[in-house]
Symmetry: D2
Subunit: 288 residues, 4 copies
């Protein structure tokens, strides 16, 4: 499946502002034939970083006062790894690659340490592996209402559990928190999501099972087949699409994703397990 994705962000900058953007398509092997354009107006120097293990891409621009905009467009063919969910078990902690440890630990918004008793009580008896994480997603879908404005940028997973409401960011934080609380590594993923209405940046989570990162979306708002990954991190803090340092205000934002492979649109959701990150970051990097 080939997609075209893009966004346009506009700002009125009041004092010199450093923007760090994380909105370009991640550099992953399973993101094939990536073609893209990235343009800022006015035409200012851009500093760049591609994180070596995750493929996250950061672009930093120092912007003087005045109007500023960013246009990004990319074409990419997704070639996800697919598998039968039934065969996907849990990796025992003793077999986890050591560099995955950070994704077992609590982070600012994924307060897994506070949710351990709750997670053990609700999901401790579930069959381990993909099934347990699916039960977590079903529980979140059934118990948390998707309500715009229900949360803010300081909302943590335990607060979402009490408020029983949130947006995609909160669903992903809560899913990751339950997983970590149960000893399953989990991380936060930002993406362009085919089928999301209205179109916006989306957030889902990945759980590490049987030696691989698998995608889960407790909101059920988009097809796992149609997630074009931007970044991955411990939680939303790490991969905000824009982190500004300075005084400015957003004046416009458009996000797009379309399918460009000519295949007929069936509207069906995949029932396969889907993985787009590599089999384990450590494998590629030989850290051990």
């Amino acid at each position: 499946m080939r997609y075209t994705v893009g966004c346009r962000l506009a700002y009125a900058v009041e004092t010199e502002t450093v923007f760090i953007f994380n909105l370009e398509v991640a550099r992953l092997e399973r993101h094939r034939d990536l073609q893209e354009t990235f343009r800022v107006t006015p035409d200012l120097p851009v500093r760049r970083l591609v994180a070596p293990v995750t493929g996250n891409r950061y672009a930093a621009v120092t912007v003087p006062p005045g109007a500023f905009s960013l246009d990004y467009e990319a074409r990419v063919t997704l070639d996800p790894h697919r598998a039968d969910p039934a065969g996907i078990g849990e990796t025992p902690v003793k077999d986890l690659p050591l560099d995955i440890l950070p994704y077992l630990l609590p982070s600012r918004f994924v307060s897994s340490d506070r949710l351990t008793p709750f997670a053990q009580a609700e999901f401790g008896d579930a069959a381990p592996g993909f099934e347990r994480v699916s039960r977590i997603c079903n529980w979140i879908h059934d118990h948390i209402a998707y309500v715009r404005g229900a949360s803010d940028e300081e909302t943590t997973a335990d607060e979402t559990l009490l408020k029983r409401a949130g947006v995609c960011r909160d669903f992903a934080h809560l899913g990751a928190a339950f997983c970590r609380a149960l000893g399953i590594p989990a991380r936060f993923v930002s993406c362009y999501a085919y089928g999301l209405v209205p179109c916006d940046f989306h957030a889902v989570f990945e759980a590490y099972l049987d030696g691989r990162w698998w995608l889960f979306d407790a909101t059920r708002q988009a097809n796992l087949d149609g997630l074009v990954r931007i970044g991955v991190g411990r939680d939303a803090a790490e991969i905000a699409f824009a982190t500004p340092f300075g005084e400015m205000r957003p004046t416009g934002m458009e996000i797009r994703i379309d399918r460009v492979d000519g295949a007929p649109e069936t509207g069906e959701r995949t029932v396969a397990a889907i993985s787009t990150a590599e089999a384990g970051p450590d494998a590629a990097d030989g850290l051990r």
Copy 2:
């Protein structure tokens, strides 16, 4: 200055337990002539990871029920970079290496987002650079009491500010939180600390100023010259000296540090700024 450091940890293991230890001396250029022994009893296989940028070292052991102990001993010569504090200014955000960004963001125990108004009000007017971070340390020293048992493993920086009491872990979290809230990258450092009474694992923090990581200890309990680094991370979650998965209980713990270079002990504290991490992780790794 040459030091010998070491520890002995003992456990009664009740169910098979995976331990991840982070207590070996970090692999840093300024840790010269490192000689060490690491032994577990019974003699079990040890999996190892040296994190590529930070030099943190992780050792994982899967332990069957029964008695278990670990003995570690190392000799290392510290060759810190020293500078006159007066000349150390702040690095503007626009000049920060992009891979330092994570150390500007809030983390589980370094709740810098909640402390921003407090930090701005107390330290916003201070002279930027080393002096501002010194003022932060002085404020913490003067306002937070060092009280064993005042905190637990879920205590966050904002809670410490209200409780007005904590241990080295809390002092380091609060110092790092104030820095991040002011746009100064900061991170948590675990170490062996010469002069600490009673001897124990110690925690301090580093702030990134003028292109380098500088050590700060708001507890004033040890000499900055005598800190033998173990690990560095966003906060204590990332570099616990032992992270056990399984049922066990500690049965003993001894930590040692001694000076072995024969130089006379003056008891004087350094007044220089001290840096032992490299000039910027990105520089070494060519990430940009």
Copy 3:
């Protein structure tokens, strides 16, 4: 049923300490033939208050340094109002006596405002009245573990919900919080509890239904028939059995309750709804 209850509290007082005790049997109409002795050693003056609406009794003693103890013993016949739970509905807010309003509001440990979405989602569909409150109690009994040491004196109802563990105080706070979140007035009750093992001060809650306060005990540790009330309040803060101002430490505590009516002990729990407070505090006081 006639009971004898009592307690002995001993303290080592280090600086002059004002104790406010709330451990005497409440002055209620349904507490019949109350006979009691209250003695402090050394023999110091005692200031007293009987709260006019609730019947709570406070005794204040100013104690100089040295050993101090209090002995209390009472005999009382409980004559509770009993009813068939099936017939007990909810009082609509529009018919609530206005002086009951405080028991609808959040208080320090009964954080009902934070639990409203959770309560609505779990219990919003239950049949109103006694049945809904019974469902709340069953839910708490099934989801919260009774664990000594799981909480401290600052633990709030929302924290108990996350920790999934607590003691009687926490069970009562959570029950009251769910009720208030659903528009049912609820309050915290301290008592001597026949059948509690080991014997201790106990805490339950009352919900206001159909014009009366009814007792509920989500811990299921004692018989509702055998609760000899001490005090009632918004939460534990208001009716601590001892509130000391000064430096002292407890050196002993014994609590007793026995049945003295000669009736055979069947061990059966009542299935009736039980009420011992008057039909509405306002009724007695003519406040409207």
Copy 4:
């Protein structure tokens, strides 16, 4: 000084809604010659409660769907007790009337238990009495910014301390919390405030010193001489000007206060200590 105060509140009621209003001038001895009109449109029955100790007045109306409004107007002569602040000391806990105890305890928004170390460290050394409470007010005025929208209806005193911003409600909660943390009874007061710009319901706090409740306003936005009291409680939860149960939305709100005694307006603030509540509620009620 004679004042005319009043308000007009309008609502669009969507489902039958029970409103409990607390906006009428309190029935206090020092509120002399109170004349008033209270009218609801449509003309619906009003249930009323005057709380016996505090003089708080509650009015309950059950409103069907449609437009609803309330008009209140009152004339009252304030005859406050005045005293020289220099002579006002603290009442030792051992001499406090027992029915004042609730105002020493933490409540939902006055989280004095969490602020005890902070209060002790900042104000523990101040001269006891009026001067210590004045220092608390000065500290709040100097450290907390008055910012509309900085808080919401769940904001607690400890959160305000971290956010360093709030509105009158938050200033009063924090002032009361610091007092309680230091053993000084304190409570929350709602009022009409002469001189407040723009005119609105105002909130201040009272501290109990030398056998009397004294008014304090850490916002410094109105003259203590010109506060026409509505209600008093542990915190804002207890005396909201309107507590609605049902679906409705506010469509208008006007609040008025004017001086009608013909005396020239000097704009001067009083420097006397001001008390309008009676010398101790217990005194009037003979509870001891």
